[in-house]
């Protein structure tokens, strides 16, 4: 084969790899939307999840988009009450990123997506009727979420290898949740006040 044929094969393989990656990525990220006061998740084809916040009123909203390596995002929201909540949306790509969220009050929701290597999400959520969505794709990623009191529900998804989820709660009655891990070397730890 001449040089042109080698180039054609190489480009074809790259394209296939790119298409495959895009397919996985779309499964993880593209089927999630924030409509007005509604987190809509179509991650599973036959199982859609809808997370409604407590009220149609949003007090404060924060949005962060970071594309690159070694980025850090710290968000603190402490307003809330009377069924009015805050909303956070964070998107981080590539390696060694950190997201830290601290929410207090009622009816808060957060929505975090990270893709790449060695990313960390630390969420500390206090109060009532809070919702959380955290999605990671890649390797050696880490999610630690602490939801105190009677938070409403949460959804965590990881795909890749050697990822870790630590979920802590002190609620008397277990809240609805959905955790999805796909890949190898995954670890999951759940602590709940409802589990003695």
């Amino acid at each position: 084969m001449n040089t042109k044929v080698y180039w054609l094969i190489a480009v074809s393989l790259l394209w296939l790899d790119f298409s495959f990656a895009q397919t996985i990525k779309s499964q993880l990220f593209d089927n999630i939307s924030i409509e007005e006061n509604l987190l809509k998740i179509n991650y599973l084809v036959d199982n859609s999840i809808y997370l409604n916040i407590a009220s149609s009123n949003i007090i404060n909203s924060a949005s962060v988009s970071q594309t690159g390596n070694r980025n850090e995002a710290f968000i603190e929201q402490i307003r809330g009450g009377d069924n009015k909540g805050n909303i956070v949306k964070v998107t981080q790509c590539f390696e060694n990123n950190l997201t830290s969220i601290n929410q207090s009050g009622v009816g808060n929701q957060n929505y975090i997506t990270q893709s790449g290597l060695n990313n960390k999400t630390i969420a500390d959520i206090n109060g009532l009727n809070n919702n959380s969505v955290i999605i990671q794709e890649g390797t050696n990623n880490y999610i630690s979420q602490k939801m105190e009191s009677d938070s409403k529900n949460y959804y965590i998804a990881q795909q890749g290898a050697n990822n870790l989820i630590i979920q802590e709660g002190n609620e008397a009655i277990s809240k609805p949740y959905l955790i999805s891990q796909k890949g190898t070397g995954m670890r999951l730890f759940i602590t709940s006040g409802a589990i003695k």
């Binding site: 949003i58 404060n60 909203s61 070694r70 980025n71 968000i75 929201q77 307003r79």
Partner: protein, 331 residues
């Protein structure tokens, strides 16, 4: 004695005093250490002072309406990707100084006055006061100012409604300070160079300091290591700072915006061109229904911080690059 004679030879003092309407004052001085002073009391007066040389001083004081002190060196400045719309070039009257260590001052009291200073050189200072007497606030003033060179200082204060300031600084290590009081003010400035400092303030009236509404602050920074600070108090205000880096190895700039009140919007855009590192941007909003946005589109090690107090606020940060830091506080 010889030295004294030399000083007298190069020093001249020209003072004009006019107390009626529709007067025209023209002063032209060539040399160094000249002093020119023009006082006009009335309306529809025009002043023009031209000085070529170093260490000259000129001042124009107008009491009345519709006075004109416009500069000769003003040029329209084309800002890419910006909503800036500087007025068309103006020719003719005003204070124009060519040289270094020059000082120019304009003091106007009344309505519909216009003032302009054009300076080319280094270490120059330009000061414009328009209706700074809070008992007699002016309206519809338009100050058009330009400084070319390094180490220049520009200071502008306006009290009244529908005020406008357009300023352009070319060079390094320049300083600009703009203060506007009352409603519907507009402040736009372009700084082209490095190590410049900018302060833009928009407040309410002296009687009601917290009611400065419908004000607009725009700044466009071209260069590196610049510092800019905008402060607005009131409601329905808008502030914007856009910064372009030049990738010449110097670190990025530091930009701060502070807004107190409701229904305000603030945006900071850094690194629109080039790939500048180490930019810092922060927005502080105290009130309700405010909107803050920081965009750091290129470079690494940038930091962005938005602090918002009370309710119904929005914060958005976009960073492209590595080792960036984002902090959002909504309390």
């Amino acid at each position: 004695m010889k030295t004294l004679l030399n000083i007298l030879a190069i020093t001249s003092v020209i003072a004009n005093f006019m107390f009626s309407q529709s007067n025209l004052s023209i002063v032209s001085q060539l040399g160094s250490a000249n002093l020119s002073s023009s006082i006009q009391n009335g309306g529809d007066n025009q002043s023009r002072i031209e000085q070529v040389g170093d260490a000259n001083e000129s001042s124009v004081t107008d009491y009345g309406d519709k006075n004109l002190v416009t500069g000769a060196f003003f040029h329209a400045f084309n800002v890419p990707n910006s909503s800036f719309s500087f007025p068309a070039p103006m020719l003719g009257d005003g204070i124009s100084q060519l040289g270094s260590y020059n000082k120019a001052a304009i003091n106007q009291t009344g309505d519909f006055n216009k003032a302009s200073i054009g300076q080319i050189g280094n270490d120059n200072a330009a000061v414009i006061f328009q209706s700074v007497n809070p008992v007699l606030p002016g309206n519809n003033n338009s100050g058009i100012d330009q400084l070319n060179g390094n180490e220049n200082i520009f200071y502008h204060i306006q009290i009244g409604t529908n005020e406008e300031v357009f300023a352009l600084q070319n060079g390094n290590n320049n300083y600009s300070h703009i203060e506007q009081y009352n409603l519907n003010s507009r402040s736009e400035i372009v700084q082209n160079g490095n190590y410049n400092n900018l302060y833009q303030y928009q407040f309410g009236s002296a009687e009601n300091y917290n009611d400065g509404s419908y004000n607009i602050s725009n700044a466009y920074l071209i260069g590196n290591s610049n510092y800019a600070y905008q402060n607005q108090v009131g409601k329905n205000n808008y502030s914007n700072i856009a910064s372009i880096g030049c990738s010449n190895g110097t670190p990025g700039g530091e930009i701060k915006t502070s807004q107190t009140g409701n229904l305000n919007s603030a945006s900071i855009e850094e690194g629109l061109l080039g790939n500048i590192d180490d930019n810092s941007a922060s927005i502080l909003q105290i009130g309700n229904i405010n909107n803050a946005q920081i965009s750091q589109e290129s470079g690494n090690m940038n930091s962005a911080k938005i602090s918002e107090s009370t309710d119904n606020n929005k914060a958005k940060i976009v960073q492209t690059g590595s080792m960036n830091l984002t902090v959002i506080l909504q309390k």
